[in-house]
Structure formats: structure tokens, C-alpha cells
Amino acid sequence: MSKLDSKIPKGPLADKWTNHKNDINLVNPANKRNIDIIMVGTGLAGGSAAATLAELGYNVKTFCYQDSPRRAHSIAAQGGINAAKNYQGDGDSNYRLFYDTVKGGDYRSREGNVYRLAEVSANIIDQCVAQGVPFAREYGGYLDNRSFGGVLVSRTFYAKGQTGQQLLLGAYSAMNRQINRGKITPYNRHEMLDLVIVDGKARGIIARDLVTGKIERHSAHAVVIASGGYGNAFFLSTNAMGSNVTASWKIHKRGAYFANPCYTQIHPTCIPVSGDHQSKLTLMSESLRNDGRIWVPKNIADAEAIRQGKKKPNDLSAEERDYYLERRYPSFGNLVPRDVASRAAKERCDAGFGVNKTGQAVFLDFATAIERYGKEQAAMHGNHNPSKEEVIKLGKEVIENKYGNLFQMYEKIVDENPYETPMMIYPAVHYTMGGVWVDYNLQSTIPGCYVTGEANFSDHGANRLGASALMQGLADGYFVLPYTIGDYLSKDIKTGKIPTDSKEFDEAENKVRELLEKLINNKGTHSVDHFHKKLGHIMWNKCGMARNAKDLESAMAEIRMLREEFWKDVKVPGEMNEMNAELEKATRVADFLELGELFAKDALHRNESCGGHFREEYQTEEGEALRDDENFMYVAAWEYTGDPGNEVLHKEELEYENIEVKSRSYK
């Protein structure tokens, strides 16, 4: 078994990043003009990196499947972005953000990476404000903060329920400035379909123009994958319809190890599934748990009555409600981390306390917060004896100001007014902590191929804390990759343009062509969605919130069979040389059908529960995740060998020198 080198710099934790920046090689500005970089994906990680690399002087080509970089799915992130600014004076620090993140990830992430993330977090906020990102402010004109799950401080910066949108538009504007200067060439409505490796180094990609269908060759001195996560393997998720694993999976098949694929985040507060026609799930931001209280009826008879519509939630008195998170986790209450909150919701629903028709929902209730804010506002306006109506009116205004867009979204989808009646929510697939294995420099096991943002595995361990994905995406893109990639590129200053007429490009292009022809000419009987939904079913039922060995073994076999069926029977209408949405879907689902099997295999091999990976066989008496640090304190990095069911495991042992590893408690 080969040893994976994480390349964590030596020295004390707090000095590692500074020392590393001082040690690495630089490329002088004149030489940067002769170096090309390909960026696949233009979300927070890709967009920010593209802008910064272009500003440094490199020639950047960006690729996204959307019609504009502004539409990458980072745009949908709602609640906020963490930074250890300690503006609230509540005891925050780089160390505390580092500690919370490692603990939140259930001690399955790298100390060095996480500390660096905490260290650069404050800079992100400065940067974004300078760019004109309109964060929420207090009346004094300074930046406001709120709390997210798994922490005891307020370090989350936000822009109403549209923080991701504002940050992405910030990165997009930085990109636009470089496009205007001619330093970024954007290839929108393009999809990467393979990586080209020349003499052992990543030197280009094969992409398809999604408008004309033309297959194109693009060369560069380095290739960066920032194409997001693979939650859509579950069919239903909070991801965008087009979110896919293809770029990550193609580089995996070319030699990049894939790490911890089974670490998936199931987000506790999403709008429940309403029927078979459902195409995606909608998130209700974690920020709502600042003010919303989660509950189900205490008595099973009340739960049944609510399900049958005989009782309304507001008919139940406080004593008849079970605020189960507050009951089970008194110190963190409704703000426990996502994995814990999701499992607790599933536990209550499985026990028969679910509150919608399908029994798969719990309440998220704002009545207490509306009353509290209403009283506060009335007092601020000099009214010390307000009527109940006045209190509720004022309270609703505060809630609307904080979460207005989320409440509106809920009302449009569910057709119920959440200001009057509690929201119904249920967990849904949201984010993938697993991803392509990278070292401290964000380089994969393929030299010259870097992976950033959700697409890599690096910083969140087995569970990501809320408001940390935006932080990681921008940290990687603005502040980490632009340094580390320079060290690699410093050896390429004399290389010159990479030609695209080599046999390596021929081989890759032919492979892509064969794949597309095969799909078009297959002329089977079922649509791509038919297979995707089936895969989603297997994933959710057997690789979802609770897993066990028997189910995972059968999931592997079922996915393999489904994949064979797909290749025999899929029907892709239309032609290759035109805009063809079904063909795009088919290439993505083909990759999900491979990834899914590796996902189950990884979950099966990890005989412990940690973070988002919950194995029913490994739990405490109280139903909490039971880790096995002796045998599983490692990153599982898988090497492709031609068959996703038979990949080879490589272990990167995790070492904790600055943090005491203990069992994770939010009680």
C-alpha cells in the first residue's frame, strides 16, 4: 500500500501556513503571462480562484455548464459565511473556529488544513466588503452576525437568506473585471468530459460545447477542478438539477484518488417530499434554527390526528409538544450540528411522531421568536404594555426582515403561511464532504491537477458545520490555491504553449466521442431520469441517514445491476451535434452510476459511525454515533482500477497534535 503524502508543513500549527508561503517558489509576473490555467466550475471556489489567478497575471480559461458563471449553485447558499472576526466580543478566535470545525467534523479532518481555513477566514470578509458585497449591518453601520449549528459564538456573516448569491455575485464581478481585461476567457455552456494527461501531468481537457455539440480540445499548464459535490447521486437533493460528479469522476478515472465518498451531509431543515413527480428538494436555511424551535407532538395520538388533519399544530399546548432537540441536547438545543439534528428527526418520525401525510416531517415553529421580538420592539418604541396583536405584528416584521425570502419560498411551495402555522421540514441530501483527495496544496494525486471547494474532501471531515462551505470555497479560491499552484507552475516557465495535436489529446477526444456515440446510438426503452430515479431510491434507502452492512452490500449489487441495465436500455433522443439536454443528463448519470457503487463500498468498509456516516451497528445506548478511532482514524482514498466495486484503498492516517480527540457531545 502506497503512502499518501499530505504535505502538511512542519512547525507549530499557527505558523504552518505562513512558513509554507515563505518556502514555496514564486513565478515572476512576466512569466505568468506565458502560463495557462484551466478552471472547471465557476462557483465560489472556481470563480474566486479564476479572478485571483487572472489578476496575478496567468491566462485563465473558465468552463461552466450554465449559460453564465453567475448561475453556479453556490448562488443558492442561504444562511451565511463563518469568519473568526470576534466582532461580537464573544470569545471567538482562530483556534476556536478551528476547534469547532474539527469537532463538528467528528475528528475526521486534517488539523493543518482546518487551521489554515480558520486563519484566512477573517480576510474573506474584508475582501468581500471591499468588493461591495452588501452584508447585513446593525444600526451603527457595522456588520451583523448570527449563530449557526455546533458552535457557541456568533461568527456568521450574512446577507438575509441570500448570502451565497451575494458572495457568488462578488466573485462573478471579480471575474468580470478580468474578462474585461482579457485575462479570463469564459467558456459558458461547456462541459468538461475528460482530462488530458501528458508525461504524467495534467495538461488539458476535452469539453463539449453544449450549444453546438462540438467536441473541443483545450490545453493548459495546470487544470483546476472546482465543480462542486455529488449529492445528485441521490436524485432528490438540494443541489441544482445540473450539479454533477462528472469532472471529479473523470479525473478519478485518470488517476486521482477519491476520498471518503460516503461522507454525505443530510440537511435537517428541507421542505418535505410531496409526491413522485418531485424533481428536487428545497432547503430552509439553518439560520432559521436561530429562532425556530423544532418539535413533534408528545403523544402519538396527537401526531396521528395532525396527520389526518383532525388537529392543527397550534391546537397543541406547550406541554403537549416534544421539543426533542432541546430535551436531548440542552446545551446546544436547536443549534446542534446538522448530522445530529437530522438523525434526531428521523428517530422521531420512525417512532411514529411525524406530522405530515407521509409521516416524514417535523415542525419548525417561530411563534416563540415572534413573541420575543415583538415585545423587544414594542419596548424599543416606548410601548411597555403592548397588546398581544401589537406584539405579534411587530414580531412578524422582525422575522420578515431576517428571513423574508425563505418564508416566501416556503409559502409558494407548500401553500401554507409559516408566519401563522409552523413550517414542516424533513432532512434531505445537501452537501458532500467526501471528494477528490488533495494534499495541503490542494493538488490531487495527478501532478498539475488541483481540486478546490466542495469537489475536494479536505476540510470538513465527516460532517460540515453550517456556513462553512462558503468559507472554504472562498478560502481555497482567493487565498490558498493562488499561492500553492504557483509553486508547481514555477517549473513550467520555459515549457511554452501545450500543443493540442498530441496523441494524448487524440486518445482522450476519441474516448469522449465513443461515449457520446454509444449513448446516442443505444436506442433503448427508458429515459435517463428513469435510471437516475432508481439510483436515487437505492442511495436514499440503503446509503442514507442510517446504514448497515447488509443494506450496503445489496446496494453495491443493485447499483451494479442498474448500471448494466442503463447501458443496455437507456434511450437518448436527438443528436450529438446540437443542444441536447438528455445527452448531457446521460453522461452525468452514467458517472453517478459508477460513483454510487464506490460510495456504498466506502460506507461498508468504514465499520464505525462518524459525523454524517451513521452505521446502525455502531451506536451508543442513547443512539449517538460511535467512532472507532483505533481502527478508522484515517482518510479513505480510493484508487480506480477499472471497476468501481473493486477500487484499491489507500489510507492517510490522521494525526491530532493540537486537539484532544474525544467523543463528540452537544448535550
Partner: protein, 248 residues
């Protein structure tokens, strides 16, 4: 419910398009409009016909991909929602629904219901940014206090999703609401004032170059905007433009 759909079909940018009629059954009120089209497409694929192509991605009203002119209105009959959030409960059994692409000279049709909105990107590239380097060597965020009302108003302008409904709603196909939203976002912040003159001149020049029409203050854009971007932004841009022209 049972519906009759009349959908614009066009093979590509160079061929002529036409409305085609598709009957559809089994539609439920809690389906989104795009999920209704998914049902149609699944049926077309099973019958061996080509599915209808339309832009969509996040399906939660924020990416701005989805478009569609539904019964003559961008994003259909509901207010403050995108097509992906429009639910079929807004329609009745037996309805006929006409579905067309957004129509504007600056938004050429690519295929069926998909249009090319890259003109919007080029307007942003002309000046929709603050020229700050992204190296992180900026001042501490709280050294620039911003009046809360200005910050909120800037945010409201910044929530534009770039879908193009304003252009599709306007009889002149004007992009004033879109352009003014970005101009306003920065004009309202101290960080954005520094380049305010150049920004408004460059963005308006690009807007004109792309072939968008003039604004005649009908206000249709504001009504159809799924994000409720206010007409006040256009007034602000006009003021910014006037003072910039006088300086220039």
C-alpha cells in the same frame, strides 16, 4: 388536471420556429411548472419524440436560469416568483397554456425555449465591479461603516438574478432595470462611489450596444420582476448617468 399546452418549438437559431400543441393529463396542483414540463418530456421521450428544451437549474428561484413567457407573462401569472417556483395550483383544469421563450432582439433563441442572454454578462463585464484586487490585502471590514438603510437598499438591488424577465416584459425590450440594479448596488455603498462615474457610463454604453431598447417608464419590468427590483433603481441610474455625463 388536464391541460392543453401550446409550446414554441424551434430546432436551432437559424431555423424558423412555430407553436405546437400538446395535450397533457394527470397534472397535480403541487407540481411546479417545470415539473409539469418534466412530465411532458418523459412522455415525449417514451413516444420517441424530441423533448422540449428549456433552461433551468437550481429550481429554487435563485440561479436565474429559468425563463419562459407563460400566457404572455414572463415567469407566468404568479407574482414574485420564477417559473421554477410557479406551481400548477395557479391553473385550472382544462386551461390552455401558451409557452414561449423570452422575446427580445438582444436575446436570440438558441433552441425551443432557450435563449442567449450573454448580453447581460457583457453589460456586467463593462463595469459591474469594484476594481479591488482579490489578494486579501484590504482594510478591516468594519473600518467602512455603512448606514443600515443604504446597506439594505444596496442589498435589495443586488438580489437581481439576471433572468431577463424585465427585458421580456418591456415593450421596448429595455434592460434598464437589470443595469440599474447593479449600478445602484454600488452607488449606495462608499466602496462603490470611487468608480461610480466610469461604471455608469460604461455599463449604459454596453447596454445600448447590445441592442436593448429605451425605457419609457411603463413599469412593466417592476411588476414582472421575480425579485421585486424597484423602479427607483432606474431613477437612481438616470441621476448617476446625468451627473457622470456632466463630469465626463
Amino acid at each position: 388536471m388536464k391541460l392543453t399546452l401550446k409550446i414554441w418549438r424551434q430546432k436551432n437559431a437559424t431555423t424558423k420556429g412555430e407553436l405546437k400543441t400538446y395535450p397533457i393529463d394527470g397534472i397535480e396542483g403541487d407540481m411546479s411548472f417545470l415539473e409539469m414540463l418534466d412530465v411532458l418530456n418523459e412522455g415525449l421521450i417514451n413516444k420517441g419524440e424530441e423533448p422540449v428544451v428549456f433552461d433551468h437549474d437550481c429550481r429554487e428561484g435563485i440561479c436565474g436560469s429559468c425563463s419562459l413567457q407563460i400566457n404572455g407573462e414572463p415567469h407566468g401569472p404568479d407574482r414574485l416568483v420564477t417559473t421554477c417556483q410557479l406551481h400548477m395550483r395557479m391553473f385550472n383544469d382544462g386551461d390552455t397554456i401558451v409557452i414561449e421563450p423570452f422575446r427580445a432582439k438582444a436575446f436570440p433563441v438558441i433552441k425551443d425555449l432557450v435563449v442567449d442572454r450573454s448580453a447581460f454578462d457583457r453589460i456586467q463585464q463593462a463595469g459591474g465591479f469594484i476594481s479591488v484586487n482579490t489578494s486579501g490585502n484590504t482594510i478591516d471590514a468594519n473600518t467602512i461603516p455603512v448606514n443600515k438603510d443604504d446597506a439594505d437598499e444596496s442589498f435589495n438591488a443586488a438580489t437581481c438574478i439576471g433572468c431577463g424577465a424585465c427585458v421580456a416584459a418591456c415593450k421596448n425590450a429595455s434592460a434598464m432595470l437589470f443595469t440599474s440594479a447593479k449600478v445602484s448596488q454600488f452607488a449606495l455603498l462608499p466602496q462603490g462611489r470611487i468608480e461610480a462615474t466610469e461604471r455608469v457610463l460604461n455599463m449604459v454604453a454596453q447596454m445600448d450596444k447590445e441592442g436593448f431598447g429605451n425605457c419609457t417608464n411603463t413599469g412593466a419590468c417592476e411588476i414582472e420582476c421575480p425579485k421585486g427590483i424597484s423602479l427607483e433603481n432606474i431613477a437612481r441610474m438616470n441621476r448617476e448617468y446625468l451627473s457622470a455625463s456632466l463630469k465626463g
